[in-house]
């Protein structure tokens, strides 16, 4: 067989397995109504986050943080000039809402990603090595798990003054891995007993190789499932922090917007200001949650409705 043919064929089929799995997964996913709703909501928020770059380009006064409408000195309701109205110093609420979507995605996805990377690694190592390593890592996980994340972040914020958004992301991530690692550890414990791990040992594979080559691909789908739930938690925590006044003062998040409403005494006077960020927080967490539930069904055939064929 000619070499060229061989390599080209490989390029076509090397990742065929994953493409096929994605297609299968999508076929199951799209039958789930809640999953479709979640995905639709998420695409709306994605569009919002992408669109957040546009308003400041149109006019500097639409800058979410620093743009001030010179004609306005107090909070005003929706108008053609400001679709959702303005805040107490004349900043455009709609462009703030769009910027908030961007912050929500950044916070949610980054901290969820860091926490599942940590959780997956720790879970695999604890489950595979067992013994004292396992005891030590899992007790550490328990310790962190019982600490109320919000409270700890509040204390840290009080200690170090204003935290910037990346520190907040990192702290949330560091407090959210134990849940993931418990699940991954349990999965690793069952995988460890499967004969293909013995087969890898007979082939001469090292522990590192067994963990990354043989166990990791088998737990990764589960990690990604947990990532969607972690996103929800991260967004909520950041919003709560910001609302309580411990957010990053340099970013406009939905929690920040709520804090401004409250601080300036517009809580019950300006529903056009209070409601949009509140609704957005609820809907984006709902969207990730629905996404996770639908993915759960893709990964776990036992959750599918009886009699349904895919």
């Amino acid at each position: 067989m000619a070499d060229g043919f061989k390599t080209r064929k490989k390029a076509l089929s090397r990742h065929g397995h994953w493409i096929e799995r994605w297609k299968e997964g999508w076929a199951i996913y799209k039958k789930n109504l809640l999953g479709r709703i979640g995905l639709a909501l998420l695409s709306i928020f994605t569009l919002m986050a992408l669109a957040s770059f546009i308003p400041p380009l149109i006019d500097p006064m639409y800058g979410p943080m620093s743009g001030v409408d010179p004609a306005i000195t107090a909070s005003t309701g929706p108008s053609a000039r400001h679709w959702l109205g303005t805040d107490f110093m004349g900043r455009d609420l709609f462009s703030q809402l769009l910027a908030g979507a961007r912050v929500a995605f950044t916070v949610g996805i980054t901290s969820a990603f860091v926490s599942i990377v940590l959780g997956t690694l720790i879970g695999m190592v604890a489950g595979y090595l067992g013994g004292w390593t396992d005891v030590f890592l899992m007790r550490a996980a328990d310790l962190i798990m019982v600490m109320p994340t919000l409270l700890v972040v509040l204390i840290l914020a009080a200690l170090f003054g204003q935290l910037n958004i990346w520190s907040i992301i990192l702290i949330i991530a560091l407090f959210r891995w134990p849940g993931v690692s418990r699940v991954i550890r349990a999965q690793t414990l069952t995988l460890k007993e499967r004969p293909f791990i013995d087969a890898a040992r007979v082939a001469g594979a090292s522990h590192v190789r067994i963990i990354f080559r043989h166990i990791m691909p088998n737990v990764l789908p589960l990690s990604f499932l947990y990532m969607t739930f972690r996103v929800t938690a991260a967004i909520n925590i950041e919003a709560a922090l910001a609302f309580l006044g411990f957010g990053d003062p340099g970013t406009v998040s939905w929690g920040m917007m709520l804090q401004w409403v409250w601080k300036t005494g517009h809580m019950f006077k300006a529903p056009y200001w209070l409601l949009p960020p509140g609704i957005c927080i609820s809907l984006i967490t709902l969207a990730f949650y629905l996404l996770g539930r639908a993915m759960d069904e893709v990964l776990d055939p036992r959750l599918r409705k009886e009699g349904e064929r895919y």
């Binding site: 067989m1 061989k6 064929k9 490989k10 089929s13 090397r14 065929g16 397995h17 499967r194 004969p195 293909f196 013995d198 087969a199 890898a200 040992r201 007979v202 082939a203 001469g204 594979a205 090292s206 190789r209 080559r213 043989h214 691909p217 088998n218």
Partner: protein, 329 residues
């Protein structure tokens, strides 16, 4: 195969392995299960040695000890006259390429996330054998040898896309790709249909011819052993009870347990010709003293005075055919 002249590749000497079964957290009493009790046998280069026994008899444990998946409690294992029993994992790694294993269940022994090429290539990567292109050639070669043809078409298939027989052939290719000297085949066909089993046996026989490899074939089936093996060892509850040339053990079984196994084989189309040994007792006797013959409780021929008190030593009933029974011969 002239096994008498060829050198010894593997020797087990008085190997014992016990497993502790902790019942539950509170009951505390630990049950000790003896999987292998002072088992000794050897395998000559180039032969297929069959280790036959019922499930739970410790035959798989013997295989796992040989490939260093478990360590024996006592006794010694020699590979090419060199003791490997107590070698730490790191020191044993270079020897890994010389002793490989085919596992029982091809549905479980292949990682569902690795393609055929990745699975078969892995031992080469681990042992640092050759550049990518060289490895590719080797994988093609070995897939061809196990009759997965054309090999390139199987490269990027995944276990779930293969039949049971194809999977087991991938597992065999994986074991063979390093050109091992000794391969432990742990019931390689117990999960497969009879017709597929014969194909697998023929592949093993051909591989022995082509690659000059020695097999330890572990099975519960005397029929399979008869088809494949040059020499057979019969194991009962962790005790080796009979070894000998394959034909001799099958046609002239000396130990009552081997005779009972022969009786258990279904026979048809041979009328009353099939000899029956009636070596198995219908009721169980009380277990003997720990020093007694392990088969005594089930043995129809056992003598209370002798068998229940003393362990029978190995006795040569004909050249190269040894039986651990007082009454044999």
């Amino acid at each position: 195969m002239d096994s008498k002249t060829s050198p010894e590749i593997l020797r087990l000497s008085e190997v014992t392995k016990t497993f502790r079964q902790s019942r539950s957290f509170f009951s505390g009493t630990k049950k000790i299960v003896t999987a292998l009790n002072r088992v000794s046998f050897h395998i000559h280069k180039g032969e297929i040695f069959g280790l036959i026994g019922e499930s739970g008899s410790g035959k798989s444990t013997a295989g796992r000890l040989i490939v260093h998946l478990d360590r024996p409690d006592s006794g010694k294992i020699y590979l090419n006259q060199k003791e490997i029993t107590r070698l730490p994992g790191r020191a044993f790694r270079p020897l890994r390429s010389r002793v490989q294993m085919i596992f029982q269940d091809p549905y479980q022994s292949l990682n569902p996330q690795l393609s055929v090429f990745e699975a078969v290539e892995e031992p080469l990567v681990v042992h640092g054998k050759g550049k990518r292109a060289r490895r590719e050639d080797r994988v093609v070669e070995i897939l061809d040898a196990v009759r997965l043809r054309p090999p390139e078409r199987f490269f990027y298939r995944f276990p779930h896309q293969l039949s049971g027989g194809q999977r087991q052939r991938v597992a065999i290719a994986r074991a063979m790709v390093l050109n091992p000297e000794l391969v432990v085949a742990d019931e390689p066909t117990s999960m497969l249909d009879a017709s597929i089993s014969i194909q697998i046996f023929d592949i093993l026989l051909r591989l022995r011819e082509d690659l000059d490899v020695t097999f330890l074939f572990i099975s519960h089936s005397l029929a399979a052993a008869h088809y494949l093996c040059d020499r057979i060892g019969v194991i009962f509850r962790g005790h080796l009870v009979e070894t000998g040339e394959g034909k001799a053990v099958i046609t002239r079984p000396g130990h009552p347990y081997t005779q009972a196994l022969m009786d258990a084989l279904p026979r048809f189309a041979c009328g009353e010709k099939g000899r029956r040994y009636n070596a198995l007792l219908n009721t169980r006797r009380k277990p003997p003293a720990p020093s007694g013959c392990p088969f005594y409780p089930r043995c129809a021929k056992g003598k209370a005075s002798l068998c229940s008190a003393h362990a029978p030593p190995f006795k040569e009933i004909e050249a190269g055919h040894q039986v651990a029974c007082f009454l044999a011969g």
